[in-house]
């Protein structure tokens, strides 16, 4: 198995994009989950559909929408341009693409964690003198921490594998926006690239297995920590 310097760049770029996408989504994902679990409001179903939409939509469609939004003629693009930010066909676009596609997975896991919290614990906290944000930080967050970890690792893994949306908004520029899946795509379309493609596939499998193992270990540890 050999990796070219370009492959290494692709791996590092993939990691950078996945980490950024996950970190960027975390606060928003936590807030969305909290909103959906603990607040009653009109249009909850609508928000639910909207949040889960990227899960079922073809990523290419998401990529295309993002392109329309942030492209030269989109209002998002105009806004970024006036701020002097180059966006489309940069790694930042890849981050946004990954974040959009992985967001439902993150929210889903955090929600599951929050739904398992007994409401009376929150009522107890409030009646003991904690304002809502205090309850959020000292009861909701620690008790849904497992969900946060699970959601983050799932989203991170999903981001590493993002292809469809990324290729549309960020393109496939080696050294700039070419992540592992895009590099594999390149190798697979060339007649001599099989060995190279396989090497990157091996890296991909290793990373995924590693993340899933870490995820399992962390949830085990949190579980034992809870029961002691």
């Amino acid at each position: 198995m050999t990796l070219t310097p370009e492959d290494l760049t692709a791996i590092l770029l993939s990691l950078k994009i996945a980490v950024s996408a996950t970190l960027l989504s975390l606060p928003l994902g936590f807030a969305t989950a909290w909103f959906m679990v603990f607040r009653n409001f009109r249009g909850k179903v609508l928000l639910e559909v909207l949040v889960n939409l990227p899960l079922t939509l073809p990523p290419v469609v998401i990529g295309y929408f993002l392109l329309l939004l942030f492209g030269r003629n989109g209002w998002g693009g105009a806004l970024l341009k006036s701020a002097g930010i180059e966006f489309i066909f940069t790694w930042k676009a890849a981050v946004v693409a990954s974040a959009t596609v992985g967001f439902p997975l993150l929210v889903r896991s955090i929600r599951l964690g929050m739904e398992s919290i007994d409401r009376q614990l929150l009522q107890a906290s409030r009646s003991l003198g904690a304002p809502w944000y205090d309850t959020l930080a000292t009861v909701v967050l620690p008790l849904s921490f497992r969900g946060v970890i699970a959601g983050s690792s799932l989203m991170f893994a999903r981001s590493l594998g993002e292809f469809g949306a990324t290729i549309i908004v960020a393109g496939n520029i080696p050294g700039v926006t070419q992540t592992i899946p895009l590099a594999i795509y390149d190798y697979a379309s060339s007649p001599t690239g099989t060995a190279m493609a396989l090497s990157l596939c091996a890296v991909s499998v290793t990373l995924s297995v590693g993340i899933l193992l870490l995820h399992e270990m962390l949830s085990k540890k949190l579980e034992t920590g809870r029961s002691s």
């Binding site: 007994d118 009376q120 614990l121 009522q123 107890a124 906290s125 409030r126 009646s127 003991l128 003198g129 904690a130 304002p131 809502w132 205090d134 000292t138 009861v139 620690p142 008790l143 809870r226 029961s227 002691s228």
Partner: protein, 351 residues
Amino acid sequence: MNLHIDIKKRFSGFSLEMKSSLSGDRMGIFGASGSGKTTLVHMIAGLTAPDSGEIFLDDHCLFSTRSGCNLSPEQRRIAIVFQQAMLFPHLGVKANLLYGYRRCRTENRKIRPEALVEVLNLQQLMQRGVNRLSGGEKQRVALGRAVLANPRLLVMDEPLSALDDTLRYQIIPYLRSVSEEFGIPYLFISHSIPEMQLMAEQVLVVEHGKLAVISTPDALARSGMAQSPRGYLNLLRLKTPAFREGLFHYPWGSGALIISDGKEEGESLFELSSRDIILFKKNPEAISARNLLKCRIAEMFDSDGRKGVVLESGGSTLVAEIVPSAAKELEIAPGSAMFAAVKASAFRRLG
């Protein structure tokens, strides 16, 4: 403490409408499950907002649609003890106890944690994880946590119903002593008449989301006598027994009560059903029941076709239950003298 409530709340399939003023430091709310007790508690504590009306605690507006005030739960300083202890599972005993204390303003901190730990006998539990506590221990910690928040009012929402009988009566002295010791008024919610008798001075009876009546625990127990499977339960706090021939002789009234299941040290609480007392017009001289008490009839009352007879001896009273025909035959009337026979084994020790 004064609690003024005048509220309306409508849910799908249930509505609650209540208007009342309560005063006293040991108040009870009594009602069957589904009668709206917990909803009422939530509205007092600020966890649910009424549709309209007002709630005042000692001239302090907690909620009012007229003036627009609606204090958040943390501003109300009303601590709740739930049916399940609801300790924070990610915190230890000490952190749970201090949760409210740390959030209480310094000028409101009147109760010292050390003093509370002593009153509730929590020293042994301080370093333990909350999941390694028994049900009774958990409830004691939950009580301590609520008290240490230095609340204006302590709300106990059926704090005993998740515990078994033995534990229940072990916890009651703690509930009482904590509020007495630290001077915190409480609102005790329950559907058990004996618990009300032990905990409350005044009882708000709630039925189908409405206030049925304001009563005393004793009146409540009397009116429920015929319906309750065990009649009126006389609750007796007795101490300093003499132990003779395998039986405990407790001083009571102008004589003594002879009880088989007693305890030498400390004060014990006994329960005696009104149906376990037999009345005699004349002294029956030789009977197997160990207690034959000469009493005066202090009072009689009706309860759904049964007669309650309040027996008095040396300032202490017991309630016996008879059918009206027996009352007629024996010509029982207030002021007349009677003999009451009770088996030594009829007294049930609660704690």
